[in-house]
Amino acid sequence: MRHHLILRVITKMLVGAIMLFAFYVQFHGDFSPGGGFQAGVIMAVAFILYGLVFSLQDVQHVFPPWLVHKLIALGVLLYAGTGVVSMFLGNSFLDYGAFTPEHPSHGQHYGIFAVELGVGITVTAVMVAIYYAFAGRPPRLSDEEW
């Protein structure tokens, strides 16, 4: 790809914009819940595009495989953890009203925010992990990194 100057320049410009859009979709979830999945995919696209145009080594330098795998787990934990916290606050599992008992609808905002963040993180990491797995055959992520 060394000689594809236009492709490289445009990619460098786009990656930032794609990420920004991903964050927009992610955090707009507050008002239109359910953006975590889409935002995660968009965020992953930024990394995949970078990997396609430059190289797998370059993108893995930025986003190393061990981190990808930890993030997959972190997102799930964030989601379930939100539920557990609401449980310890005395409401049922994932009842976000627990976070601000005096004004439950605020709690709903915070709860959805946290849960969608978890979804976003996991989806980003899973998409990138799938890309790494396909692009890196024979596997590039050394198993020692677990």
Binding site: K70, V76, D143
Partner: protein
């Protein structure tokens, strides 16, 4: 719990239904995040023990026939997702968590010898996810939620089976076959759910049951029923849909086979029970016909065909896989009787066969650990060198046949009683005849272990205690439940009554 004081009435006890699923669910990502090979097993085991304790507490609350309902996110059913515990699924939860708690100590040594150390964290994470999925399927009262958890357990099962590839590469194709078949099954299941949703506008099981009763039988509902039975049939491995099972069980790591054989198909049978009895009405003619003219013949065919195939196997593990298909036939037979006794037999056999098969597969795992394989010509004469392992295998084998004094006898007895009560005495004869086939294939193993000379130059030690003790716990359970019959039969009867309660005396 001082934080809670400011709030409301929800205490830890109220949260038990959701904790049942959340504990293993949280453990899986924790294992990956911590990533320590030493802590991994401990974390998984602790989570499993906690789940087991929760399952016991839940069963104690519902054994009298009452029902616990838990609203996820505080959204009341039928809109929200409801976790609903009654005797039937509390029984399944107990089986699943109990088996996982016994299998994990056993798995430690077995996994160490069969899977490279760098994959252990992933293995236990996948195991926890599989447990989460199975528990979720059993506990949820929401039909779509069943599908979600079914996928969680299935996907992690494919991973677990493929980990057998370090011992035998064929695990990869076995896992792939199961992936294709399992996905088709799940797709059929979700198509069925879609049709139900189309016809009724709800996904909550109790609500579904009511609305289906109101509108009676129509084509959408019939199609939904057919799709759900076929979809679940693939997961259960009903006879002609069983092709994924022998390879998956044969090539999976020993600990995984033990866990899956005792739990995964059993949970699928529970779903089948729940759908055919609680959601669709048992007096719904189309359903009665399906059960009587499709499920019943296939169940009987499974009892014979799979047993015949089992007789001619040369690999102990594969033989047990085919025997599982035959045993599933007995459970389906119990369902197709559509009577309280028949269901009691199914639920009791679900449990009894679970512990029996777990004992036997653990035995296989130990033989594999020492002899490096489970082919008959490799394990011959090991009764002398490994007396404890072989003795437990004999107990498991007797229970598999259904010899009086073992758990397997009790459920078969109830099943025969149920067929006679229904007046289907030819079926009772067939049950006894197929048990004779079990005698043959179990005898082959006993003959191999005890009556043949050990291979020259082999000097196997007895298995490590960490594997022997779990196996003997299960072997003794096989005997215990063969004598203390009221425990299983009563629980199974309460479960059967609960399952039929939706149909309020229509039988």
């Amino acid at each position: 719990m001082s934080v809670e004081a400011t709030q409301t009435a929800m205490t830890l006890t109220d949260h038990l239904p959701v904790l049942q699923v959340v504990v293993p669910l949280v453990t899986a990502p924790l294992i990956v995040l911590i990533g320590s090979r030493r802590l991994t097993w401990t974390l998984a085991f602790v989570a499993s023990v906690i789940s087991f304790a929760i399952a016991i507490l839940l069963l104690m609350q519902v054994i009298d026939g009452s029902v616990i309902s838990y609203n996820i996110g505080g959204w009341a059913p039928p809109l929200g997702i409801e976790y609903r515990v009654d005797a039937a699924n509390a029984f399944v939860l107990l089986l699943v968590t109990g088996i996982s708690t016994v299998v994990l100590p056993y798995a430690r040594e077995s996994v160490r010898s069969e899977i490279p150390a760098r994959h252990h964290t992933l293995f236990y994470a996948a195991f926890m996810l599989c447990l989460t999925g199975l528990l979720g399927v059993a506990i949820t009262g929401d039909a779509f939620n069943v599908f979600v958890f079914l996928e969680i357990s299935s996907l992690s099962t494919y991973v677990l089976i493929s980990m057998g590839s370090y011992r035998d590469k064929r695990a990869l194709t076995a896992s792939y076959d199961y992936l294709i078949m399992g996905t088709i099954g799940a797709t059929f299941f979700v198509i069925g759910l879609g049709m139900l949703y189309m016809a009724t506008g709800t996904l909550n099981m109790a609500d579904l049951a009511e609305r289906i009763a109101d509108q009676g039988s129509n084509r959408t509902i019939r199609a939904a029923f057919a799709f759900i039975v076929v979809g679940m049939g693939l997961k259960v491995a009903i006879y002609p849909l069983h092709l994924w099972l022998p390879n998956a069980y044969t090539y999976a790591p020993s600990a995984v086979t033990t866990f899956l054989a005792a739990t995964a198909t059993k949970v699928a049978i529970y779903v089948l029970l729940r759908f055919t009895l609680s959601i669709f009405q048992p007096n719904f003619l189309f359903q009665v016909n399906t059960l009587e003219f499709i499920i019943l013949p296939f169940a009987i065919l499974a009892m014979f065909a799979a047993s015949f195939i089992a007789i001619f196997q040369t690999d102990f593990k594969r033989m047990l896989a085919y025997s599982s298909i035959a045993q599933i036939g007995y459970m389906l037979l119990g369902i197709s009787l559509l009577s309280e006794n028949g269901l009691t037999a199914t639920v009791a056999h679900l449990f009894n066969h679970g512990i029996t098969k777990a004992t036997l597969f653990m035995g296989v795992g130990i033989l594999v650990l020492r002899a490096g394989g489970s082919f008959y010509n490799r394990i011959q004469g090991m009764g002398e060198t490994m007396p404890w392992t072989s003795a437990a295998i004999v107990i498991g084998g007797l229970s598999l046949i259904g010899v009086p004094g073992t758990a397997g006898f009790i459920s078969k007895w109830v099943l025969i009683e149920a067929t006679i009560e229904k007046g289907w005495w030819p079926v009772s004869v067939l049950i006894v005849l197929s048990s004779l086939l079990a005698v043959i294939y179990v005898w082959r193993v006993i003959e191999t272990l005890y009556l043949k000379a050990p291979l020259a130059g082999t000097d196997y030690k007895e298995a490590p205690l960490s594997m022997l003790i779990p196996m003997w716990i299960l072997a003794l359970a096989c005997i215990y439940f063969g004598f203390a019959t009221d425990v299983t039969i009563n629980a199974a009867r309460t479960a059967a009554q609960g399952l039929l309660a939706g149909s309020a005396g229509m039988l």
